[in-house]
Amino acid sequence: MFTKVTSGEVQTITIQFEGETLVVRKGLNVAAALLEAGVKQFRETPVSGQARTPFCMMGVCFDCLLIIDGMHNQQSCMIEVAEGMKIERQLGMATIEFNASAEQGL
């Protein structure tokens, strides 16, 4: 279990994870905040669909990848939480959606 050991004053902010509102400590990186909140799965691998969670916490393993504010493949251990941030699990391979106007633009 992930447990906070701080004795200092704690400021919190609100983020969205998979549509659910989470109150997390300000200043944490996204990975740490979600681990503290008890999230057991960050992404599913594109190969076998195995559930993964952060492994290295220092930006080298890429197991903490999430969709943050609509952007895929974000290293959540390297990004600080921000008020109103929308976070989703990254399930398997990313897909690209083309809308009509974008296609015309191409």
Partner: protein
């Protein structure tokens, strides 16, 4: 016009900070890029924040890092945190991204000080949710004041005892400790003890941590010859083999550690030559006495060149900076020799303990070269030991062909967590020295980069990219 600096430093850990601070004193224009939000590297991570909190368990050697961080801040060099460097090319071009925008800058001299990362620990189940590196646990404690309760610690190395000591001091419950220091290593380390004598207080401190762990009420196991992490969706336990018997512990968190190795991706992608370091069972970047690599104008220093620890990294950073200052003609070669003399002496003193530590904590072959066919080697592409052996059996000559045939090492981590395993596994399978097997050919971008960022990059005429 592309911004040009006398010196670009990559990494604001002990080596990078010390290099920047020294070079700034001698009038060099400096840009230092670092991936983290605050200076300190992994070793002194968040040390500025923790200075105001009563976190005694992190220890004096951690809090002492604040002196270097403060000196670095006071040097007022141009410092860009949260910058992700994706390329260093010949001619001193450095490509990095910051806040969604890519930039190219030029350093007349470049110092790569990218530090260390955890050595891969390929055992069955090491990709399961609930398994982390022990370094990750320490980062969570240092930066996020987050503890992992009731975890099983499995591994070896000086850092292994340190983090358990920090957990015990902070009163965080530990499920069990599995000490994987190979028994034979004590005998191998003994001949190096004499030259390590000046570091006796440090060795004694480590020994005290180990005694503290054994005497605590945490179950402690040694003489373990094999490990398996159990679970389907997430970790449910760990099995360990003592003698010919397998025993199992229930657990939902496993923390693995078997030492740290140089973080070589930027250096190798820049074309720096490396060689196999048998004592540390990893690659080292080939550098001269001034940390000049095989690429003109590119120096690689600190743990990013070869593992020496934080205090050595600080001195190595300064020596590299002196080398750069001489090349920049900010000082003469004679002045450089004179300036670097105390740093070289301090480095030599610091390195005397290294052969002892390397011999004592070299992880056993069992945990470096996985034997079970189903063990995952490449975490990203989920390539197993069996698949690697099969491809090698088909006549694949080395890591690069293996990559083409199996996708091993082709995922987002770019071999950071499988490269060493692959080199050693192929070496064992083909009965060829690791140096002859080689490593992945790494290419930029070494960190993910949006196509949009690349497309928006303003390239001046003459920039090669």
């Amino acid at each position: 016009m592309t911004d040009t600096f006398d010196l670009i430093i990559i990494g604001a850990g002990p080596a990078g900070m010390a290099a920047a601070e020294l070079a700034a004193k001698h009038g060099a224009s400096i840009l230092i890029l670092d991936e983290q939000a605050r200076p300190g590297g992994q070793i002194y991570r968040a040390v500025e924040i923790m200075a105001n909190r009563n976190r005694v368990e992190l220890g004096d050697s951690y809090h002492a890092g604040l002196t270097l961080v403060n000196a670095f801040r006071d040097s007022h060099v141009q410092y860009i945190p949260k910058a992700s460097v994706w390329q260093v090319s010949q001619g001193g071009e450095v490509g990095y991204s910051f806040d969604g925008t890519a930039h190219i800058v030029i350093g007349k001299q470049v110092i790569i000080a990218t530090g260390a990362q955890e050595r891969p620990f390929p055992i069955p189940g090491w990709t399961l949710s609930g398994v982390m590196t022990m370094g990750a646990a320490q980062i969570l404690l240092k930066e996020s004041e987050l503890a992992i309760e009731d975890a099983v610690f499995a591994g070896c190395g000086p850092l292994f005892y340190l983090v358990i000591h920090q957990y015990l001091t902070a009163g965080i419950p530990i499920k069990a400790v599995i000490d994987l220091t190979p028994k034979g290593n004590y005998l191998k380390a003994l001949p190096h003890l004499f030259s390590a004598l000046p570091a006796l207080p440090k060795i004694y401190e480590g020994w005290k941590w180990k005694r503290e762990i054994i005497k605590s009420n945490v179950p402690y196991f040694s003489d373990v010859s094999d490990l398996k992490i159990l679970g389907e969706e997430g970790v449910t336990g760990i099995s360990y083999k003592q003698g010919s018997t397998w025993k199992t512990l229930d657990a939902s968190h496993i923390l693995l550690h078997q030492g740290v190795v140089p973080n070589v991706n930027i250096s190798l992608a820049a074309g720096c030559k490396s060689s196999w370091n048998e004592d540390q069972a990893c690659w080292r970047i080939n550098v001269d006495d001034w940390f000049q690599s095989s690429v003109k104008g590119v120096r690689v220093t600190g743990d990013g060149a070869s593992i020496g620890g934080a205090l050595a990294a600080e001195q190595r950073g300064r020596i590299a900076a002196v080398g750069a200052l001489v090349q920049l003609e900010k000082i003469t070669a004679t002045e450089g020799d004179h300036l670097a003399a105390p740093y070289k002496a301090a480095l030599a003193a610091e390195m005397r303990v290294r052969p002892f530590l390397d011999a004592l904590f070299k992880p056993s072959d069992t945990f470096r070269i996985p034997q079970h066919d189903n063990t995952i080697v490449c975490r990203c592409e989920e390539v197993t030991v069996g698949q690697v052996r099969q491809v090698v059996g088909m006549g694949c000559a080395g890591p690069n062909q293996l990559k083409s045939f199996s996708r091993c090492g082709m995922g987002p981590c770019q071999g950071r967590f499988c490269g060493l395993t692959v080199s050693e596994l192929i070496s064992e399978t083909l009965k060829k020295p690791v140096s002859a097997v080689g490593y992945y050919r790494l290419r930029p971008p070494v960190k993910p980069l949006l196509l949009q960022e690349l497309a928006n990059l303003k390239i001046t005429k003459g920039d090669s990219l």
